[in-house]
Amino acid sequence: MPKLFGRKRPNIRDAAAAEVPDTRPSAPRYRWKGGEDEERLDELSRIIVGRAKELIDHYQEQMRKAPSRPEAMAWFDERARFLSSPRIGEIEEHKANGGKVIGTMCVFAPLELIRAADAIPVRLCSGLHNTIATGEELMADAGLCPMVKSTLGVKMTHASPFFEASDAVIVPMVCDGKFKLGEVLQDFMEVWMVNVPHIKDTQQARSMWLDEVRALQQQIETLTGNRIYWEELKREIQLSLRAQTVARRLYDLRKADPPVINGRDSLLVNQTPHTEDLSVWVEHATVLAQELEQRVRDGIAVSDPEAPRIMLAGAPIMWPNFKIPQLIEESGGSIVADELCSGTRWLYDPIGIDEWIWDDMFQAMAERYLQPSVCPCFTPNDPRIGRIKQMIEDFRVEGVVYHVLRGCHIYNGESTRVKQSAEDRGVPMLIIETEYSQEDTEQLRTRVEAFLMLVRARRKKAAKAKRRAFKTIDGSEGGDGA
């Protein structure tokens, strides 16, 4: 068998020798007038941050309206006000002590390596609406996904303290939007592009991916000046495993009928680790899980126990872009499952370690970002279909809402297949193509409401059919009231 690793456990001297080419261009490639006038930029930034806070307040207010919201959500609420979260202070302190912060996008950056080097990983994919216009000044493509433009706009306007704190950002080459975004961002910060193989289960893809992760390791070590040792990596893998265990517990709790937690809250809980200290998150998520387990025992429903059970699928929904989940739940649906990369997807297939030796650990850690991933940037992506079918069954899903961000072709491209396979299981699916703006809310509401009615009507019909079947077996009359 060919050796996958050229070297064993790295040591400091290797690090000194490892030359990491500086990928930053010496002069900016893009001219951006808005960035030159600092005073006006500050003003713009203030306006954007103000509006973003209003948006966050708006959704939080809506979410707090749930009649019996779990008390443990309080901590997540506080952290969700991320533009003024106490986390910012923690990160500033970390940086003042010489610590580094590394931005990530999507779900491909090896977080364990970042943490093992004592750096803080923060996911920078943005859900802010009002930075899009600024992003468009450098990426004017009208057909480009709003998440990409929003993320760029956040950097250009210095709106997010997490972006500002990042010493570098890891950008995976998953879709056209992301890799051109990485290019433009190079004018603003250090960018580490990562090649993600789109056909992933070949030997070439595996070894290429391992090389990519090894290169990242070097970049991380050079930036932080910290070598990553066996002990630290093991510690961080174990932390990830602990986090996934709690997340899995929370995931299973959503199978409860009636539901014990709202879909919006679940989504928020799953997104909090994007910026938080994972070990702190584990504590709070555990408290939440205990509270929810108690609710299951006591039979306390968070919303209408008869609400149609909806699964949210498709393109990422990033806090505070909660337009779609808000619409679904305010129209009377209950989101009991999601397969979003900004939702539960990060907990699929925990890192499997047979033996805690460096090579095995490293390989298992790296591979878990690739092999179990069902991101539509891969082809063929049959496992995603299989996973969705399984979730429909496990969570007793009655309807799927498939979210497409306009311009996200990879998610749109898979929508027909997902729809057909949901329908094969007798579950209807609504495809919603939208952007971040609130403009289309009322039109979408009409669709969502009609869809929920459709789901209810199907449920009624199924119940009737069941009663009829029962009657024929039973041979007796009656029981069919309506």
Partner: protein, 267 residues
């Protein structure tokens, strides 16, 4: 005597219908204008007048349509897709169970597929752009200075429909201006416009349903030229109810009646 009413608060027109013991006793349609609530009240009053009834006689009122929340005297509001399905399924068709509804409204168009029991199976909507909606027809009628009711008859006289390339209303408008300048016959221009709308909505229809029993409703369904164009695109006949504009209001009135019986209503 059970009296219920449905009020369809559309973007362009407001429709009301009164149902007495499962029979249509009165119905009206009027321009929505700037005050939707008043339009709704007026439409309801006119339908009640036709039926010889007073507001107090009505046991249950259901509002529907984009402006449904504006009508305070309604007891309940329902989604217009459901109301449309209910109304069209109730009217039925001599061809068999209604399985597909094409609805063209003032500012949107939709296609609803029903299953064999009249329950909604799927739907698609175009509410992003005015192409394929009543608005498009209005704009063109204005340009050609032809009353909107006459569009259908005139277009049926066309011998050689023009090709309209733009699907966007704004661009189509300038295209029509240049067609007029080129002295194309209004009949041919209109036939081209109808064809363009028909091709848009039938593409939507094919996405949700291939069933042949198709009902076409909404105000523009009164346009015979548009109907002919849709039939030509689909390749089979399409049923238009006698009063296509009030099908959604009818559905709302039927749902109101359902709500009085304890079934709880719904599609």
């Amino acid at each position: 005597m059970t009296v219920t009413a449905g009020v369809d608060m559309g973007s362009t027109a407001t429709k009301a219908l009164v149902l007495v013991d499962g029979r249509i006793a009165g119905s009206t349609a009027r321009i929505t204008g700037a005050d939707p609530e008043r339009a709704g009240e007026m439409a309801l009053k006119e339908s009640l007048d036709q039926a010889g009834l007073q507001l107090e006689d009505v046991e249950y009122i259901v509002a529907t349509g984009y402006g449904r929340r504006a009508l305070e005297l309604a007891d309940e509001s329902v989604n217009e897709i459901n109301a449309n399905a209910r109304g069209a399924a109730w009217l039925g068709s001599s061809e068999g169970t209604v399985r597909t509804i094409i609805d063209i409204g003032g500012q949107d168009s939709k296609v609803i597929a029903l299953d064999e029991d009249g329950v909604i199976a799927d739907f698609v909507m175009n509410d992003k752009c005015a192409a394929g909606t009543g608005k498009f027809l209005e704009v063109i009628a204005d340009l050609l200075e032809i009353p909107i009711e006459d569009l259908g008859d005139i277009s049926l006289r066309s011998t050689k429909p023009v090709n309209i390339n733009s699907t966007c209303v704004v661009f189509a408008q300038s295209e029509v201006v240049s067609l007029i300048a080129r002295k194309e016959a209004p009949a041919d221009i209109l036939a081209g416009i109808h064809r363009s709308i028909a091709s848009r909505v039938t593409t939507m229809a094919r996405r949700v349903s291939m069933d042949r029993v198709v009902v076409f409703d909404g105000g523009p369904a009164k346009n015979k030229g548009l109907l002919a164009a849709i039939e030509a695109e689909l390749g089979h006949p399409v049923v238009v109810p006698r009063h296509p504009q009030v099908v959604v209001a009818l559905g709302a009135a039927l749902i109101a009646a359902d709500m009085l019986t304890d079934d709880g209503g719904g599609a």
